[in-house]
């Protein structure tokens, strides 16, 4: 593999996906500090939102330390070169949130749906495109369907106005061949000027390898997270990804050492616990469950005395999708009743 001269856009997730392991408690000061460090390292795109996207503030997913608007205004103000993106899940956030984010100066909107439900994203993608924003369709839990089915959904998002489509491995389940098959078909079937991206989770330690497979198959946007801060075992570690890409000749515009500084000196200190490939994270990746279920399962374990990895396995068995965090407590109660 050789990516000599390939331009790859690296997109940092630690201030959005990283909100999951932080239970959405990253402070505004911490966000501004980390965004400043990423900006200095030349990271072109930084996502800033509640872990579950705009409007995610809730009993169900957790109330954040500050509102999306407060975070976005503060970070947009701080960065000089980086563009800021925001995530939106239809069903949780609405076009009102999208307008607010645009007003804050967000340049990229990523509209995320479960991989089979792209047609709930029409109004949000339409609006983002009408506002002149870089508009991304983000197909989550993409391991659950075939590449053909994924392409059908991607074509819908493209028809609504998305200029970039993501294959999102929310469970960290995919292996390189799974990524290759999906990205290659997306590249083949989408318009030639539609960009394709890959979002990985490191639950089977495949973040970098899967991202390389994605690039080899034609993707040019890659998500990762400084110090890996993200749900489950975290996202693809961005500093490692950048270093590997530089060794392979790709052009990212990122300063490896400054990015490593950002990870080590700015992101690592805010971690409540090291983001690592724990038993729970392994189960997420092995069985294919949504990565942000992890902490909910841990809390249910504390309250109901049921092993968290058993809860996560059951969530995978029931073919749950992103957003079904409310089922975790119910499953824990049922399992506790069975063992009694």
């Amino acid at each position: 593999m050789n990516f000599e001269g390939r331009h790859i856009t690296l997109h940092d997730m630690c201030l959005r996906d990283g909100m999951h392991p932080k239970q959405h408690q990253i402070t505004v000061d911490e966000m501004v500090d980390i965004a400043g460090a990423l900006d200095a390292a030349g990271v072109p795109l930084i996502e800033v939102t509640h872990g579950d996207g705009l409007g995610g503030a809730s009993v169900n997913y957790g109330f954040p330390a500050a509102s999306d608007e407060t975070y976005l205004r503060a970070v947009v103000e701080r960065v000089e070169h980086s563009a800021i993106s925001a995530l939106l899940l239809p069903g949780i956030g609405t076009v009102d949130h999208l307008r607010m984010a645009a007003d804050c100066g967000v340049k990229t909107i990523r509209v995320a749906t479960h991989c089979t439900e792209a047609n709930v994203s029409r109004q949000h993608i339409n609006l983002s495109r009408d506002l002149g924003l870089d508009t991304v369709g983000f197909l989550m839990m993409a391991h659950m369907i075939s590449e053909d089915a994924l392409v059908e959904q991607a074509l819908l998002m493209e028809s609504y106005g998305a200029n970039c489509i993501y294959c999102t491995d929310s469970a960290g389940y995919m292996l390189p061949q799974d990524v290759t098959d999906r990205i290659a078909l997306l590249k083949q079937r989408l318009k030639s000027d539609t960009e394709v991206g890959f979002h990985g989770h490191h639950n089977l330690a495949m973040g970098v390898a899967n991202s390389l497979a994605a690039i080899a198959a034609g993707a040019n946007r890659i998500d990762g997270s400084a110090a890996g801060l993200g749900a489950g075992a975290g996202n693809t570690p961005l500093e490692a990804m950048a270093a590997v890409l530089e060794r392979m000749g790709a052009v990212t515009g990122v300063d490896i050492f400054k990015l490593a500084d950002a990870a080590e000196d700015h992101v690592l200190p805010i971690m409540d616990e090291p983001v690592r490939l724990s038993r729970d994270a392994l189960v997420l990746g092995y069985a294919g469950a949504y990565s942000s279920f992890l902490l909910f399962a841990k809390r249910a374990q504390e309250k109901y005395g049921v092993p968290s990895h058993e809860i996560l396995l059951e969530m995978a068995r029931r073919k749950t999708v992103g957003g079904q965090e409310d089922l975790i407590e119910e499953i824990a109660i049922e399992m506790a009743a069975q063992t009694r």
Partner: protein, 299 residues
């Protein structure tokens, strides 16, 4: 002997046909019209059951109204055409029961506010909120009638196959209408609604989580009693409405989860989200018809 009130159904699709089947069993409502815009399977089915049908839309109903009048019209079309349907129907003196998210008339969640709506005097148009609203607002009200609720949030998880294009094209309308009704009818100071669509096969039965944050520490005993009574009230028209677990009380948070299995009349049983809409719409018409009848007989 009591005579049944007559009703027209606009929209012979899945919802309209399911509603028709429920009407067939009703002691108070008789569906006499099915209104469509083409000679669809739904129109043919209604005709075979002996209903008067039209494929001219609401204008067909208007034209034939004097020969075959109705007391109620159920609109099972879309928010986009509801306003016009409602204007034409109410001008004829029929009451509109709106199953679309248009929400021209006041919200109606039968076990929570139908009585109060009726006490307020005649209403030309009532709106049945959303499927998520019908399934969850009774639970919010069950808590808020015991003690003040500062915030209520509902998460509706529904099978992909039970979510039609109308909802998908404007999913924000679900979020907004449901949030608003959580406040206005549920009695919470602030409401939030979330919908999650799951494509698993076999399709999952509608499941809802209701989180209420009470202002003072929850009065557990009274809340449990109130919830149990409300579940019984909903079961009068949706027998498959079930509490999943005992309510979880954690600090000021009261969390309730329910499962809504439909009757499987025309819609499949897992589509409790659609069943509860048709059942609530019919329940509303029945209660109004009953009330009209008793006020006539008492004269």
């Amino acid at each position: 002997m009591t005579t049944k009130a007559k009703a027209a159904i606009i929209g012979p699709g899945n919802i309209g046909t399911d509603l028709l089947m429920k009407c067939q069993r009703s002691d108070f409502i008789e569906a006499t019209w099915m209104v469509g815009i083409e000679d669809s399977a739904g129109i043919q089915r209604a005709r075979a059951l002996g209903l008067r049908t039209t494929t001219e839309g609401v204008d067909g109903l208007v034209a034939g109204f004097s020969a075959d009048p109705v007391d109620f019209v159920f609109d099972a079309t879309s928010a986009y055409v509801h306003a016009e349907n409602s204007r034409k129907v109410t001008a004829l003196g029929a009451m509109m029961i709106d199953l679309t998210p248009a929400a021209i008339g006041p919200f109606c969640i039968p076990p929570v506010n139908l009585q109060a709506l009726l006490d307020r005097g005649p209403t030309q148009n009532v709106n049945m909120v959303t499927c998520g609203g019908q399934a969850t607002i009774p639970m919010v009200a069950a808590v808020s009638r015991v003690q003040p609720v500062s915030y209520a949030e509902i998460v509706a998880t529904v099978a992909s196959k039970s979510v039609g294009m109308g909802t998908r094209d404007n999913i924000d309308e679900f979020t907004r209408t449901t949030s608003s009704a959580i406040e206005k009818i549920g009695g919470a100071d602030e409401g939030k609604a979330i919908i999650v669509i799951n494509p698993a096969e076999p399709p999952l039965v509608m499941r809802d989580t209701i989180h209420c944050l009470t202002k003072e520490a929850p009065n557990e005993t009274d809340i449990r009693t109130s919830i149990a009574a409300m579940v019984t009230d909903v079961q009068r028209y949706v027998p498959g409405y079930r509490l999943k677990n005992a309510p979880i009380i954690d600090g000021h948070r009261v969390t309730i989860s329910v499962e809504v299995e439909g009757l499987g009349d025309f819609l499949p049983k897992y589509a409790g989200n659609l069943d509860i809409m048709t059942a609530a719409g019919l329940r509303t018409a029945e209660m109004i018809a009953q009330r009209r009848q008793s006020s006539r007989s008492s004269l």
